[in-house]
């Protein structure tokens, strides 16, 4: 006879994909030392979209470089997939504010660049590259050069380049910061849709409150001098999200809350 006690199957504890553990960064030069980051703690669970939101100079790009393994913390440690970083970890996808496409390569060959770096089989990846370009409306331009494309198209191509290798962690450093407002909205929607389909773990750096609320599951709000996380906000808005959501009360409640934080910090000053 079975015992009456129900055997509750507990889900295995999911380790966070990224652990930023009490990280501090201090730059020392002949002019003295500058504390760029202080005691930053943030975990990214697998499949989560997390934004780092803060004013310029708050060290948010430094934070991204730490996770990319391009810089080392002065104190604390960064772990990806349970391992402390000693260099760039495997399986990163990178999108920066500037698209840094190579002028001498066609759009297709630019998209293949990261795969080339990682010595993948390019012939096998070419159909996938076309497919990904098609998804971003760029397949007709596969054989064009970057300088024949608009800023929005170039940034789309750089997103394709990051996605082609199917990264487990996508790092985006103000990817839409240099685009005009309309293109930015457009790409916000595309990114939200893409995330919905692929559920990639994304660390997204931005200084736009609306963009952070629109895209994220969680937002780490940062202040500067020194850069530190002042609050982590869970964004509980339904998905898929549409641009119209941005006019809803639930959405503006979030943006207002974040704006208040920045006002209190003195980052935003109102008359």
């Amino acid at each position: 006879m079975m015992h009456a006690t129900a055997i509750v199957e507990r889900p295995a504890p999911v380790l966070p994909l990224v652990e930023i553990d009490h990280v501090g960064v201090t730059y020392t030069s002949s002019r003295g030392s500058v504390e760029a980051l202080r005691n930053v703690r943030l975990d990214l669970r697998e499949g989560e979209f997390v934004s780092i939101l803060g004013p310029s100079g708050c060290g948010k790009s430094t934070l991204l470089k730490l996770v990319a393994g391009l810089e080392r913390p002065t104190s604390g440690q960064v772990k990806v997939a349970g391992k402390a970083l000693s260099g760039p970890p495997e399986g990163l996808g990178i999108v920066l504010q500037r698209d840094v496409l190579l002028d001498w390569r066609t759009v297709l060959d630019n998209v293949l660049l990261v795969a080339e770096f990682q010595k993948r089989d390019l012939n096998a990846l070419r159909p996938a590259a076309h497919k990904i370009l098609e998804r971003f409306g760029l397949d007709a331009f596969a054989d064009r050069h970057p300088w024949e494309l608009s800023g929005g198209m170039r940034q789309r191509a750089s997103i394709c380049r990051a996605l082609l290798t199917d990264p487990s962690l996508l790092l985006m450093d103000e990817p839409f910061g240099a685009l005009d407002a309309m293109t930015r909205d457009d790409l916000n929607l595309e990114l939200a849709r893409l995330w919905q389909e692929t559920r990639k773990t994304v660390l997204f750096i931005t200084h736009s409150i609306a963009e952070a609320v629109f895209l994220s599951d969680r937002i780490a709000v940062m202040s500067r001098n020194p850069g530190q996380i002042v609050e982590i906000i869970d964004v509980d808005l339904p998905r898929p999200r549409s641009l119209a959501l941005r006019e809803s009360n639930a959405f503006t409640a979030y943006t207002k809350r974040i704006r208040t934080i920045f006002t209190q910090l003195g980052v935003l000053k109102e008359g």
């Binding site: 470089k65 990319a68 393994g69 391009l70 260099g87 760039p88 495997e90 990163l92 990178i94 920066l96 500037r98 840094v100 190579l102 002028d103 001498w104 660049l113 990261v114 080339e116 770096f117 990682q118 409306g137 331009f141 064009r144 050069h145 300088w147 024949e148 494309l149 608009s150 800023g151 929005g152 198209m153 290798t165 790092l171 293109t183």
Partner: protein, 265 residues
């Protein structure tokens, strides 16, 4: 329409050239200028008819020293640039000496090369190499260094090897300034070859000019100068042609294609 315009342009260039020659010829005849001071264009031209083989032999010799010196300058200049960019130590040790050496008027070193290498083609090639190499090294270093730091971050975060970073990013990125250095370098190589021939030797356009000087044969000296001008110009445009073929993507080469930049879709 475009073709017509281009034809018109070459017509203007040719017309200016012919008028200059005619005025020159007329002035020499009218004012009875002595031939050793300024020979008439017709006298210079007749040199080509009198001794075509002699001129061709000397021109080929100079061309050969120039090209040989230039080719070595490109190879050595490129290797030096890559080494200096990749090694802090070499940058600190080698680079200052390169600058120091470049500050010496290299013509002053020509007699030394003759003492070291004899009176054959070797000192000519060596001097051509020495004069041409600096612009190539310095421009190549500039090109290799001027890589977008964001591009390097992307490559490093993608775990690209140093090798990949050099060949897929730094090198193609350096090509435009390398070509700028080579365009200066090819002209310098020709100067070097001539300087070498001035200092010692019996063959080459430089030697020919020295011999013409000895016999007050200005027409022959001018014939050599005409050949040098043609040679220098053709070599320059050959480097530019190579540039065009290698860098169709570069801003300076886009021209027509760049103007039909696509608008946002």
């Amino acid at each position: 329409m475009k073709f017509l315009k281009k034809g018109e342009e070459s017509l203007h260039i040719a017309a200016t050239f012919i008028i200059t020659l005619l005025v020159w010829e007329a002035a020499v005849r009218l004012f009875h200028v002595r031939p050793f001071v300024l020979p008439a264009p017709s006298a210079i031209f007749s040199e080509f008819l009198v001794a075509p083989g002699y001129l061709a032999r000397n021109a080929l010799y100079t061309l050969y020293s120039t090209l040989f010196g230039f080719a070595l300058a490109v190879i050595i200049g490129f290797a030096l640039a890559v080494a200096i960019v990749h090694s802090r130590l070499l940058e600190r040790t080698l680079y200052p000496y390169l600058i120091l050496l470049n500050s010496i008027p290299k013509v002053a070193l020509a007699p030394l090369f003759v003492m070291w290498l004899g009176v054959g083609i070797e000192p000519k090639v060596a001097i051509a190499l020495m004069i041409a190499v600096f612009s190539i090294v310095i421009d190549t270093i500039l090109g290799l260094r001027s890589v977008d730091p964001d591009m390097l971050s992307l490559a490093k975060a993608s775990r690209a090897s140093q090798w990949h970073i050099l060949f897929k990013i730094r090198l193609p990125n350096a090509l435009p300034s390398m070509f700028a250095g080579m365009k200066v370098g090819i002209a310098f190589a020709l100067v070097g070859a001539i300087v070498g021939e001035f200092v010692a030797g019996q063959v080459g356009l430089g030697a020919m000019i020295m011999q013409a000087q000895g016999s007050f044969d200005s027409a022959r000296a001018f014939a050599a100068i005409v050949l040098l001008a043609v040679m220098g110009t053709v070599l320059f445009y050959l480097v530019e042609l190579a540039e065009r073929l290698c860098l169709p993507w570069h801003t300076s080469q886009r021209g027509q294609k760049g103007s039909d930049v696509l608008v946002h879709i």
